[in-house]
Amino acid sequence: MKKLISMLVTAALAVTSVLAFAGCSSAKGNEGGSSASDFKVGAIYINSQNDTSGYTYAHHHGITEAMKKVGLDPAKDLFIVDNVPEDDEKVKQAIDQLAGNGCNIIFGISFGYINAMEEKAKEYPDIIFSHATGYLSNDTNFNNYFGRIYQARYLAGIAAGYKSLATGNNNIGYVSAWGTEYAETCSGINGFALGVFSVNPDAKVSVYEISTWGDQELERQAAETLIDTYGCGVIAQHCDSAQPQIVANEKGVFGCGYNSDMTKEAPNAHLAAPIWNWDAYYATAMKAAMTNPATFMTEVGNYYEGLNAGLVDVSALSSNCEPQTKEAIELAKKMMISGEWDVFSGVKLSFSGDTGSVTVEKTNAPLVTNDGTEIVAAGGPSVDDGVIQGSMNYYVEGVTQVN
């Protein structure tokens, strides 16, 4: 008898904990309801759809917002398989499941889904496959998409640069998940640093690599080290949590967050954060696929937009920012939106002047790595393709990795 009860209780406990996870792995369902159209969207997430911050959250938020924009109901027309690791078999199963649900377009948000998506795009020619951060595609139904977040980081760098001038501390820290291994992190660091140098050419950017996308304790300790040992007065970041900003707040220095406006976590420290507005892409992709899937690859194709499409931006400038910041950011933004200038080119910007009369000056200067190699000659074109092709694996002059 005792054994029976014990088995029952253990089973009940197990079921409860499984239920707690259940929200994570179930495909949100279309219960036969009739939607305005028959168009259905599929999504494969690396983390939980219930996340409230971070990478998966940003995409999930983007997809649901975009669906509302194009007249779809996320409750009925969106099918999700989440917590899918970067494992070909698991991704293929997820795709089969979404295909079975009748999805017309499938978004995969993590880099490692790349091979499975390419293969399944051949198997399901009527479904459009759209892969974030990848580099593969075909001519009919498989594209990749990414954004020029380095542009937003450049703008955040301007805010950090003004702060360093005001405090007289030229040391700026950057807590990064990875260093030069990934073009994504590397280009973010370079973009931010160039933004800093456009305001304060004497500044130095010190990068601390934590070798993981998210570990709150490490993020925290990295920020502490940058402040205490390297004397940094502004802490920027490319990692999951707001810990670096919280540490900056505690230690009375300043910081630039990432992914969301972290002013709420660090009210006295936060300046501005580079943010993604993924719905800009998702709405474009859905609209094109709904209108005519056959022309998706010519209409949308491989998507790599930035400030111009509203895909990236900086969060509202906090009151911790120096007064000139806003004008300088507006000037830089205008030049990037118009396409007149881009970050990784042989032309550098320098901002000067007081509030109300901030001016920008363009000078031809080569883009040089921190070991002296010239990447772009003075006046040369931008190498922004290096960000998606993965060839950007160097830090620009003025950046050092401390660990």
């Binding site: 005792k2 009860i5 406990l13 197990a14 904990s17 971070g54 998210g214 300790q221 401390v402």
Partner: protein
Amino acid sequence: MLEVFTLFLFNIIVYNIPLLYGTTGEIMIDKSGSLNLGVEGTMAIGAVAGYLAGAKCDSLFVACLVSFIASGLVGLLFSFLTVTLQANQNVTGLTITTFGVAFYYFIGNALSNSAGGWPQLSGTKLDAHSQPVHIPGLSDIPFIGKAIFSHSILVYVGILIAVLMWLYFKKTVPGLKLRAIGENPAAADSLGVNVAMYKYVHIIVGSGIMGLGGLYMGLNMGGTFEGSNCWINGYGWISIALVIFANWNPAKAILGTLIFGFFNTLRVQNAALAYTFPETLGWLTKIPSHFFSALPFIITLLVLITSSLSKKNKSGEPQAIGRNYYREDR
């Protein structure tokens, strides 16, 4: 120059004390002959429950109390399942870990989605209560004053618990009875010790201690909830390994925590050491940073291997650990 050493010592303590809570809690449970693999989950529940209650009431005491009670309830559940119902201890412990971590995310997500949400709780006065205490005289000593005598009150409570537990096992009658149960419950039973009661009490108290460690971690991070990264982050599992390292001795657990903490801190601070002392410690930068990331775990592995090879190093292991006691089998 010396600041880097101060910071190093300071960090060893500030980031690794939760391990001491987890380890001492687990030792107490182990000594009663039960093996609880649910440390991670127990800590997670103590963390989230204690932090919320504490932030709500603006009191560190309430936070500790609720954390202790919430984790104690998890201990009660574990005792009920394994002592009264004789369920398999390993399976029950693992279930509690799964359940506890899921509970953490469940509550955290629900709160984050609610109006105002989690960010409003973080950075409340609760953090102010857990700020380093200033001990007159001691805190002002140069170098070690900052490193050793300027910590949150919970750091000293953790060390105190370890010392008291050591005394309890060594010097008191109930401690002796407890150890007897862990070694041979049938013999203890025949001498009139209430085996079930002893197991219940010590599993509950041990779990409560783990909960305090979880709460400490939450406080350490300013209570910022993040959807894909639990506060406890594997410390519960390391605690279980440290139990073996400490040879089931709470006083040795302090040493184990500091040694593990040294390597754990080295992985973050190696570059800072090399930067501050380029001539003497500059060679540290030649070692890939990934080696330092792996080092704490390599050390843990080595410790487990050496202690498994030597009988002497396992002398503190309760003989009846992990086995349920059926009175009828006696």
